[in-house]
Symmetry: C2
Subunit: 192 residues, 2 copies
């Protein structure tokens, strides 16, 4: 049974360990994190097709016109979005494609792709999140408080997702995530 790969839409407040969880999931299962397209210039060290697909504004707008973006946002004068053809090519090979995406983009995808599987990652508590951000030591305390306030707001969006994975311990969160992927491959989808 060479089944089409899943489309997994994943959001999380920053500081939840989303990147670490997804890296581990991709090691264990036939999953790949989707690479976004953007019109902003590459920064030093950024590789086309790995960090982003770097395209011109004209190309990006043509893709939007031709319905070739699964979702996109404009931010600080640049476009960022998910190229449909890349996602579909992977899924056709049976690879589960993970879209690591903020809430607004996720809502666009869930509307357009009813077969998408949505997962929201949460920290066990705001206190744990504060502790992690402090331990990381990359931001001053005012910035940390701002991020925590933002996380508390973002967590209200969790209700729009089918699954919630709590990152209480990395191993548990990865096991939960992998179980969701495996279970979803056993799920009956009327349109397939």
């Amino acid at each position: 049974m060479n089944r089409k790969g899943l489309l997994l839409v994943v959001s999380a407040p920053s500081g939840c360990g989303k990147g670490t969880i997804l890296a581990e999931v991709c090691k264990r299962m036939s999953c790949q994190v989707s690479v976004s397209a953007t019109t902003r210039s590459p920064r030093p060290g950024e590789i086309d097709g790995q960090h982003y697909y770097f395209v011109t504004k004209a190309e990006f707008e043509e893709r939007i016109q031709n319905n070739q973006m699964l979702e996109y946002v404009e931010y600080c004068g640049n476009y960022y979005g998910t190229p449909k053809d890349k996602v579909e090519a992977l899924r056709a090979q049976g690879v589960h494609v993970i879209l690591e995406i903020e809430v607004q983009g996720a809502m666009q995808i869930l509307k357009r792709c009813p077969d998408a599987v949505s997962i929201f990652i949460v920290p066990p508590s705001i206190e744990t999140l504060r502790h992690r951000l402090e331990k990381r030591g990359t931001e001053d305390s005012a910035t940390i408080e701002k991020r925590i306030a933002a996380a508390a707001t973002e967590m209200q969006s969790a209700v729009h997702y089918q699954y919630v994975v709590m990152n209480d311990a990395l191993e548990n969160a990865v096991d939960d995530f992998c179980a969701i992927v495996r279970a979803e491959t056993c799920k009956q989808r009327p349109n397939e």
Copy 2:
């Protein structure tokens, strides 16, 4: 988070290895197979509360009247069914309760309990099923053909279930089943 246990409704054509899969799942996870109530007499060696809850016809009918059966059928003059109180007591303790049940009873439960998780177990093919039944050697070839015809019909009911687990190899089927249970505990349920 002391969450209520899941209600898992499991059906399968006979010969699919359902019993073996469920026994293994119950070893690995906090799951228990529900014990049915019946009005038939205990057979030698059958223990009340382990193989069945043996009750009188009057008791059973009173339970039906009082809406205390999750589902029931009448078969050869006896009642068989699932006592609601036992299931709910286990679920309240966080135990996932497995109802091993034929399609008709399963449909009753799915109507009454919209939060139930339904799983249908299938053999990889009718050929494999025939091979397993022949290998078991407990039935003559006419009976085997009858059971295979019945299985082919029963498998059409799979569409009514949320998940399909294929028993191609025991270990795979058990892993699939456990993944479904784990994923469902991460699923958001609006009414909880």
